[in-house]
């Protein structure tokens, strides 16, 4: 980032290629819409570019990037209604149509396995979407940005124990959600 501030464009390109996927998916998983995710994604990188001259090395670039993203997301969520997408931590949707029979003993490389994989992915995405906002936020910062619990706490503005709890609840909910949809043996 400092090299880019000095005028090295390739430094920025490298940064962008490294972080673009995770940031994009972060917005995508949170908002559930490609268009909206793209808008916020572009806004964040514009901000990174504009603040490059004044950038100071106080923390990792990843931390700074996802802090900007998290603030932008909060600002956006305040203006839209996402209550119908926020589900209570104890309540998990059940979709009988998505359940797949277990113990089919298929080959991993077979088309059937691939199909199963795709189906599992779809279910997981659905379950992530169903998570409460704060749990989803912590889960995505961990999985997409690779941040530790301490850094996640700093980004979201909460303490360490609260973040750890949110993560635990997030994984539990996902497990339950997937189990309900696919059966216990899937995980």
């Amino acid at each position: 980032m400092q090299r880019y501030a000095q005028g090295d464009f390739r430094a920025f390109e490298e940064l962008y290629q490294r972080h673009k996927g995770g940031l994009y998916r972060y917005f995508l998983r949170q908002l559930g819409e490609h268009g909206l995710a793209e808008d916020l994604f572009q806004e964040i990188w514009s901000k990174v570019i504009s603040q490059a001259p004044s950038y100071q090395v106080k923390a990792k670039f990843t931390t700074w990037l996802y802090t900007l993203a998290q603030h932008k997301l909060i600002d956006h969520v305040r203006h839209i209604k996402v209550a119908n997408k926020v589900i209570n931590a104890d309540k998990v949707e059940h979709d009988e149509d998505e359940k797949i029979p277990q113990n089919q003993g298929v080959n991993e490389k077979s088309p059937e396995h691939q199909l199963q994989q795709q189906h599992t992915a779809m279910i997981l995405k659905h379950c992530i979407q169903a998570l409460p906002l704060v749990q989803k936020d912590c889960f995505l910062l961990k999985e997409e940005a690779g941040l530790t619990v301490e850094v996640i706490a700093h980004v979201v503005g909460a303490n360490y124990q609260a973040c750890k709890s949110r993560l635990r609840y997030a994984y539990n909910n996902l497990r339950q959600c997937i189990t309900h949809k696919m059966g216990r043996s899937s995980i």
């Binding site: 880019y4 501030a5 000095q6 005028g7 090295d8 464009f9 920025f12 390109e13 962008y16 673009k20 996927g21 994009y24 998916r25 995508l28 793209e38 994604f41 572009q42 990188w45 514009s46 570019i49 504009s50 490059a52 001259p53 994989q117 599992t120 992915a121 997981l124 995405k125 992530i128 999985e143 997409e144 635990r168 994984y171 539990n172 996902l174 497990r175 997937i178 995980i187």
Partner: protein, 307 residues
């Protein structure tokens, strides 16, 4: 970590692994290009701004200079005003009206403009008319001839009156001039002690005082003669008393003026004599002094005053 956590931890790992296997969404290529182009443009601008910043740092002194130059004129004007104010305050005493010195010309002008010029009174005109015109009604002259003669006489009288008035005016003007000069001399005398004056100044003052005394005495004499004539001609008129009072006042003022001039003259003479004991005073000058002043001078200089 608790037992529950241990049981859950493998699930977390599995979910995490499952999620990582899903990650394949990427932003559209168009957005990538747009962001990279923006970064490139901003990078060029940043390079220019860095150069500008370096240039600005290099010429930072000129900016401070321009700030100073902006305030150059107001500061200089303020400093000038302050300087003038300080000088004026320090020299304020010199500008007081009491310490102003009038030049003799200015005093003369003041006296001329302020003092009223007395015109010949009606009685004076009548007196002259009777005395000089000699108007008598001829016993046998015709009315036309009589009128003609009367007119001629009046013309003569008026001419004389005008001449006398002019002379009187001139005398009065001269008197005022000398009064102004006297005023200046007296002021100079008061301001600067006579003993501290240079000798040349003393001589000059003495000469001036002599002339003033002569003029004033002439005026007094003229006024006295006028008064006498008025007494003779108007002794039986109603306004004669008031007219005579005015004359007396004028004479009294002239006498006081002469007395002051004599005092000043005597002082100047004494002071000059102290510096120049061999000075021989002109008798005419001595006669201008009062009797007691003449005696005092005689005692001082052992010079006999020729009466």
């Amino acid at each position: 970590m608790s037992q529950q956590d241990n049981n859950e931890y493998p699930d977390q790992l599995k979910i995490s692994d499952l999620y990582q296997s899903l990650k394949h969404e990427q932003p559209p290529e168009a957005i990538d290009q747009a962001i990279l182009i923006l970064a490139k443009q901003a990078g060029n601008t940043t390079e220019q701004s860095i150069k500008s910043a370096q240039f600005a740092e290099k010429h930072q002194t000129s900016k401070t200079k321009s700030n100073w130059r902006r305030w150059q004129w107001p500061l200089s004007i303020a400093a000038s005003v302050m300087l003038i104010s300080v000088i004026f305050i320090n020299q304020y005493a010199s500008f007081l009206p009491n310490s102003t010195v009038f030049s003799p010309e200015e005093a003369r002008e003041f006296m001329v403009n302020s003092a009223p010029i007395s015109a010949p009174s009606a009685e004076q005109k009548k007196g002259l008319l009777r005395k000089d015109a000699g108007l008598e009604k001829p016993a046998t002259a015709s009315s036309a001839a009589h009128n003609y003669a009367e007119k001629q006489a009046l013309l003569i009288v008026n001419t004389e009156l005008v001449q006398q008035t002019n002379g009187g005016l001139q005398a009065q003007q001269k008197q005022k001039e000398y009064s102004a000069e006297t005023l200046a001399v007296q002021r100079n005398s008061k301001r600067v002690k006579i003993d501290e004056m240079p000798t040349q100044i003393k001589l000059s003052n003495i000469e001036q005082l002599r002339q003033q005394i002569n003029t004033t005495q002439a005026q007094l004499l003229s006024l006295s003669q006028q008064q006498n004539d008025a007494v003779l001609q108007d002794s039986f008129t109603e306004n004669s008393g008031a007219h005579l009072s005015l004359k007396e006042l004028e004479m009294k003022a002239l006498k006081a003026q002469i007395s002051e001039l004599q005092n000043a003259l005597f002082k100047h003479m004494q002071s000059y004599y102290q510096h120049s004991p061999t000075w021989q005073v002109d008798n005419k000058l001595l006669k201008l002094l009062r009797i007691e002043q003449q005696q005092a001078w005689q005692t001082l200089s052992k010079q006999t005053v020729v009466q």
